[in-house]
Amino acid sequence: MTTRAPSKETATGDDRIIKAGAELILDALEEQGVEVIFGYPGGAVLPIYDALHRRDSIRHILVRHEQGAVHMAEGYARATGKPGVVLVTSGPGATNAVTGLADALLDSIPLICITGQVARKLIGTDAFQECDTIGITRACTKHNYLATSPHKLSSIVHEAFHVATTGRPGPVVIDVPKDVQFEEAPYVSRKDAPLRAARADVPLTDRQIEETVDLMRHARRPILYTGGGIINAGPQASAALRELARVTGFPVTSTLMGLGAFPAADPQWLGMLGMHGSVEANHAMHDCDLMICIGARFDDRVTGRLDAFSPGSRKIHVDIDPSSINKNVNVDIGIVGDAGKVIQSFLDQWQRREKMALYDHGRTKEWWARINDWRGVNSFAYAKDDAVIKPQYAIERLYQLTKDRDVYVTTEVGQHQMWAAQHFHFEEPNRWMTSGGLGTMGYGLPAAVGVQVAHPDALVIDIAGDGSVQMTMQEMSTAVQFGLPVKIFILNNSYLGMVRQWQELLHDRRYAHSYSDALPDFVKLAEAYGGVGLRAETPAELDDKIREMINVDKPVLFDCVVTQEENVFPMIPSGAAHNEMLLGGSVTGDEIGKEGRALV
């Protein structure tokens, strides 16, 4: 722990150093190994900024809007596995952070967000830039704290890191009144701080592991349904999953959040499942006799119609959060635990059985034959075009031209996000960051900035849409200031494409407010920010422009002009089951039933 310039050091009876609250916060962050903070100053956090100014151990990235700071911290956290740290002021600083916090809560991303608050004696007086941060963020954080005294401050920071990173990870807010930031108190180190976390310590039972492995060895139509929990459990969990797939020979699918945990190049990979998942993944989910769900949560985008969800299967659910089990789908065996550790227990048990009797891989032969038939549908296929760039083609080319590099991909939310998930392929975890749960447009650009901060030499691409990218466009300025050469690859169809697709399916092509009538010139916009603007309008020039983008060592806005009315297929329409997918081709408008129309 280094403290180059502590405010006022005084030796006390218990020889602990007394420091101002602002210094205590930074000391605690340093002890927790924090290297970078994403933040924005303001009246109620000035003492912390002043303390930050006097030490160079923690880097500060000045954002342009607090929502950007939180998404950057999310990108940083997902690309490194470490918690991201945010520092914002009271009132509007805190409320601007709310969207990012809600996003991190739904996607289980570990964050610490320190918010300034008005001085204690002003709380409740409707003071300037006062808001009830604790009340507002209670519903969008895993936990939050109001630091009412500097004596508790360092312990609160340590507990906040513990809460954010253990169990199911999530965002934690620490609200610090301004006077607490300059009042003095002794520092409490990590090892002396009392730590609480969520109660979830259900012990793993051998019986559950044995029963699961029993079912696995007898299954004829098994499937591994994996999710973001495997990514959160760290690289060893992904390694264990690969080993489990290898020894069992079972097919593997994943949610949007889990892409990369299992390599896309592996022959056992079925592609993503769910509303815009592959035909083989969704049919296999529907027809399987054993579903092993690890680190996913039976989200409505995945299950489709619940009463028609995988009707003939035994279901096993591994999740670190006890409340996820039996929440949406009743399962036969619910196992509470860390994905990596549980997979390892499955493996150990499998190998123990293997010594007694070799597993008969012939059991799943017919199942694989059926899966290969579904694969034959080639459900991500699209009609090629020589004159205009198809969005799927753009992603395909982007993938082909970058796959041999050290590449990280973020996305915004909408059609481009689904095409990216379908046509960009990931071999490793922590390479893909997208807003899966909350579906936050504007996530991708700042998240890419956060990833680039963590990996300065990597190629970081935000696959964006013309609508989403304008929601947090101002962070281009941050990227330019800190020399972070993120590549913003905009699939520009001049529409809010996913909204338009639903209007086509549900509302007789009445495109209410989904056409982008006054789009900026993205090339000029990039230049105005001090970045580089590129535009591709024909398939013929696409490859060269992508190469140019890769080779520029500056932030790039890439305006990729694509076909305007392309739809994302396949699609499980709202209110339908996994085996009722719509494939590409023409859409009549009758695809969604009466019940489905009320759904999102």
């Binding site: 009340g135 519903a139 959060d321 006890p322 409340s323 929440k327 009743n330 709202s574």
Partner: protein
């Protein structure tokens, strides 16, 4: 009674499970905002609260006991318990109503206004229920009655035609019989 919406946005076949009443004892750290977290969880996920009682029960450890009476199908009750377990200040959740040996008490103050034969009848009923008259005027009583929720509900039903005018109830308290802790 309110219906529980499906937890998915997709249509679900009618839930055929019967709703049950459940009494949950939630032991929490007594710190600012804990009650708001618990109550906020119920409203955010549209669970029911039929009664709620809270007070500090261990001053040294700063622990409070929150007793919540809720209704729902058994899977919802399980979900409520799991969701409560996710709150950091929650130390323990026990489903007291599922215990065979749970004691349940509630206290009510019941004002009955009436004259003549009605007064006599009210007094006679009160004796049967072991309710105590804690305030008396020529035309009114305030009874103090304790017991399980059902008993208090029954007492109120009997008082209604006899001039029931006002009721205050504490909400349910519950504890396990015998040596075991909740």
């Amino acid at each position: 009674m309110s219906l529980h919406p499906s937890q998915s946005v997709y249509p679900v076949s009618e839930n055929s499970e019967e709703e049950i009443e459940s009494i949950l004892a939630v032991i929490v750290d007594n710190e600012p905002g804990t009650l708001a977290r618990v109550v906020g969880l119920f409203s955010a996920r549209s669970y029911n609260i039929e009664s709620l009682t809270v007070a500090e029960t261990d001053g040294e450890k700063h622990r409070s006991r929150i007793t919540i009476v809720t209704r729902g199908v058994p899977s919802t009750i399980e979900q409520i318990k799991a969701q409560l377990g996710r709150l950091i200040p929650v130390r323990r959740v026990s489903d007291v109503s599922r215990e065979q040996d749970a004691l349940q008490r509630e206290l009510a103050l019941v004002k009955v206004v009436g004259e003549g034969e009605q007064r006599v009848e009210a007094m006679r009923m009160a004796e049967i229920f072991r309710a105590r008259a804690v305030d008396i005027t020529h035309s009114s009583f305030v009874f103090e009655v304790t017991g399980a929720r059902d008993k208090i509900n029954a007492f109120l039903d009997l008082m209604r035609p006899l001039g029931l005018s006002d009721v205050a109830r504490t909400g349910v308290l519950s504890i396990r019989r015998g040596v075991l802790k909740d």
